[in-house]
């Protein structure tokens, strides 16, 4: 496979923008949790669609909302 040359950029709208994140803990607001991405950056994510969740669980996040729980890391 070719090593990509031009910079990578995701379209936030497109369905490919599914970001694996790890649950850190409850945030202020119903259904909201603080999560960390693979790069360590933290953000608040709406977990309404996958609750209940627990710290250290992994979820796939799209446009600020967790769509599915992911299994354990390989």
């Amino acid at each position: 496979m070719r090593v990509p040359g031009p910079p990578s950029c995701h379209c936030a709208t497109c369905a490919d923008e599914g970001v694996p994140m790890r649950v850190l803990g409850v945030a202020a607001g119903a259904g909201l949790y603080d999560c960390a991405g693979e790069d360590g950056e933290t953000t608040t994510v709406d977990m309404t669609l996958v609750e209940p969740v627990a710290p250290d669980e992994r979820v796939l996040v799209h446009a600020g909302v967790a769509l599915v729980k992911l299994g354990a890391e390989p």
Partner: protein
Amino acid sequence: MRFVDEFRDAELGRVVAGEILAAVDPQRHYKLMEVCGGHTHAIYKYGIDDLLPANVELVHGPGCPVCVIPMGRVDDGIAIAHEPGVIFTCFGDMLRVPGSDGTLLDAKAQGADVRMVYSPLDALRIARDQPERQVVFFAIGFETTAPSTALTLMRAKAEGVENFSVVCNHVTIVPPLRALLESPDLRLEGFIGPGHVSTVVGARPFQFIPDQYGKPVVISGFEPLDVLQSALMLLRQLGEGRCEVENQYARVVPFDGNAAALRVMGEVFALRPHFEWRGLGFISQSGLRLSDDYADFDAERRFSAPGVRVADPKACQCGEVLKGVIKPWECKVFGTACTPERPIGTCMVSSEGACAAYYNFGRFARGERAAV
């Protein structure tokens, strides 16, 4: 990066490419359509098409939500953005989509308060922080993104946030696929199905494709090995005379989707009788509007928008590209009048659009191939 690097292993990629070569009938030509713009992006970014035999052709489908927004809807958004006191919010790629007289970025340059957000929840936060302003979110996307808009509207309603509204351009994936399958100028052997849309809708909605049209579907992830393996699974189905919906992306996609997401979408949205898709025309029951329970949050009711249909520029062949009838570089204006810096067609705007993906990554590969 764990869970990612494993699916970018070049050596494994070569192994799968070898299996693909063994699976194809050299006397047969295979046309496979990847529905999702994310797959198109991955194909060009990683040179996946270079690993496929010459008789396996990848056709790029209509699954980039930015690319299928018609100009009239962009004009409506721009008109609302120019309303006094409005803060107009949208995803980043929408900012550069051309309407009939400029883009949302142009509107911003002219003084409109247009802001990029990552999530509709960010737009709601702006509305909470600035109750004296009207905050509008320009909602686009398939079933992956629609739950985010739905949850945001449910929060806005529960909290009584009255200065928040949505221009709803959400679309659904099945009707355009059916329209494509009915198109007389389209010849396809099978579909690489959308990965993250399927986390919401599941695999079941695609069953009509094998049942009614006799074409196999493989729901695929977005890493290069995902796409290669999905192509192999399709080719094996074709070789063995099978015709099924298979799920290559089972590590993420549950067969039944996400019932909670479907439930919130059902509460907040209703089907429009028809919706216009750029390049594909009007497709019945393919677009979503806000349901009557959420009509107070409908920006199209709150503000006056032109609501005028605008024909695509004549030189632009986005429609043929979206239907897979021509390749991006076969468009008359590709790479000359139409570039990512100055797009004419929407397929050149979004990084997931077939033309932009090819422009950014593919010319290198074609040059290499030509030199061999």
